[in-house]
Symmetry: C2
Subunit: 94 residues, 2 copies
Amino acid sequence: MQDTTPLTLIGKALSHPLRERMLRLLADGERCGCEFAPELGVDPSIVSRSFALLERAGLVTSRREGVRVMWSLADPELLVTLDRLAELTQEKVA
Amino acid sequence: MQDTTPLTLIGKALSHPLRERMLRLLADGERCGCEFAPELGVDPSIVSRSFALLERAGLVTSRREGVRVMWSLADPELLVTLDRLAELTQEKVA
DNA sequence: TGTTATATTGCGCATTTGCGCAATAATACC
DNA sequence: GGTATTATTGCGCAAATGCGCAATATAACA
């Protein structure tokens, strides 16, 4: 794709259930990337690529701590805003 | 995809620049679907399928008016919330 | 009935995304 | 140097998405 806006990047990042789950696993704060593969039942390579997508969209940030990479939500308001968005769209559906 | 949540549906709907543009074209209120194909320079079939996606995600609603289908945002707060989301993610990027 | 305007759906094909194995990188420690 | 732990990247293949033409549907109206 050529014309990529901040919002479409966010959309792509959110458009896979695994990546939404990863976001929610960060709700309580920073976590080591190494926890995600076993917890989600996928290959570490998928976790790595998924975090890369989330990071490019600006949804998460990372810092190295020795051999580990620690991930956290880019903003504590994020999940609230996402859930608010889901609310707004479900009004008419429900 | 099997495991599809409200948020992943929204993500998919937002993940294409054409569909984001369509959403923004509804900022000022209801519009006839027939305006979008010429304005966006794509085939009407693409507009139809794109609206179907946006509607399934709960982002837009429609009503028939004779031969036309009139589209509007599911909620007037939607674009504000989406832009808020973009803000939250751009803080760290900028 | 037929004609016009708008919208949707079926189809084939191109592009993108997703997956996991294997290889490589990065860091710490001996 | 070597080993262990975690993370990333290269690759091939599978699945999903995007595209537009053509066909069909829907509604209004003469």
